[in-house]
Symmetry: C2
Subunit: 221 residues, 2 copies
């Protein structure tokens, strides 16, 4: 397998809490990271913040530069702009491992709920829009609060990695393993991504009821 520590990870939506938090943890683990955003300037600003927190250099650029410069690309953008962004980056993402961590959720006064997705899930939408990429789904349930809080040195959560391409799944699992207290495990095919994305609504309901930031462990694995 590819030596994972040699890979450059690009984070699309790198100014949001999930993308920035994962970037921080990967940078701290010694991974080369480039943050992407619609605005190169905001990406560079976030990269400079992450660099000083991580004590390691992280660069930034617009989403196209980010996608073109990275070996593995995390998609951490809001569900709203998901299809449009991926369509625009089809060329830059060709041949690359794409990790979709987007949770299509809605909120109303009763709390969070899963939005219907025509393709089945955000990950399947990515798969359809990026026929030349190696699309996986992972990192849906990792608490952004814990990622950003450097006093949390053990995330105590598994990351389910879904995909059709076994080598790509294994590389993403290894990237998960680089974050302290995170274990990447295979979680099924992309057609079973919907419920993993939607399960984030249950975790948010749990967080509200128990006033916590929950995670998920798979037992007996």
């Amino acid at each position: 397998m590819t030596e994972v520590s040699e890979l450059t990870v690009g984070v699309l939506g790198g100014t949001g809490p999930q993308g920035k938090g994962l970037a921080l943890r990967w940078a701290m683990a010694g991974q080369r990271v480039i943050l992407g955003s619609r605005s190169a300037e905001r990406a560079e600003q976030a990269a400079s913040e992450v660099s000083s927190l991580a004590g390691a250099e992280v660069t930034g650029g617009d989403n196209a530069v980010c996608a073109a410069s990275a070996d593995v690309v995390l998609v951490a953008v809001p569900w709203d702009g998901h299809a449009e962004l991926l369509t625009s980056l089809r060329e830059q993402l060709a041949g690359k491992i794409v990790i979709d961590c987007v949770n299509p959720l809605g909120f109303d006064k009763q709390g969070p709920y899963a939005l219907p997705v025509a393709e089945g899930s955000a990950a399947q939408q990515a798969f359809d829009l990026l026929p030349d990429a190696r699309v996986t789904a992972a990192f849906h349930h990792v608490s952004a609060v814990h990622l950003a809080d450097l006093s949390v040195t053990d995330m105590d959560t598994d990351v389910l990695v879904l995909g059709e391409d076994r080598e790509a799944v294994d590389i993403v699992r290894a990237l998960a393993d680089r974050i302290p207290g995170v274990r990447g495990i295979y979680g099924g095919r992309l057609r079973n991504a919907h419920q993993v994305e939607a399960f984030t609504a249950n975790l948010i309901a749990i967080n509200r009821r128990y006033k916590t930031n929950s995670g998920v462990r798979i037992t007996n694995v």
Copy 2:
């Protein structure tokens, strides 16, 4: 709250592995249990098996007798007959706590996948069909293999309990807690039941890949 140990638990579909396994563990914990099946004879046969394994008396009857005799009713029937059975038991289930643990899944050569459900989920179908019952959803992810294997003395899994009726949810959580190594925790509203049911497809995929019987723990709760 109601003293949970005083309640009689009825198990519809009590001759199947999930229903029989939960019945066994509840009977071992001292809970009064009645198994239901379409055939009273098969229910009595299963009850006699469970009784001798548990060292405690478990009774059996047809599904209508089971529903009428119990305070809390677990629905553990195949998805195929779910709507028809619940429709036929509307009267017997009025006012009772119903626990739906049904996972609407399909299987093909690529493995398990979630079936679409018009109402959103099996639990929401139960809610729609049983307007006078207190419908909850729980026990989707508990390994039937481990339930039946009495050498397993710690199930090492959480049970997510979903529902709109907080007292009913708390009673079901307490019923979960009676099984060794099981913790019942609130898992959200019924509109978020689909992904909990469907997640069983991911656990089956995990079981196949890792040759295990997996469970789920929610961390930081």
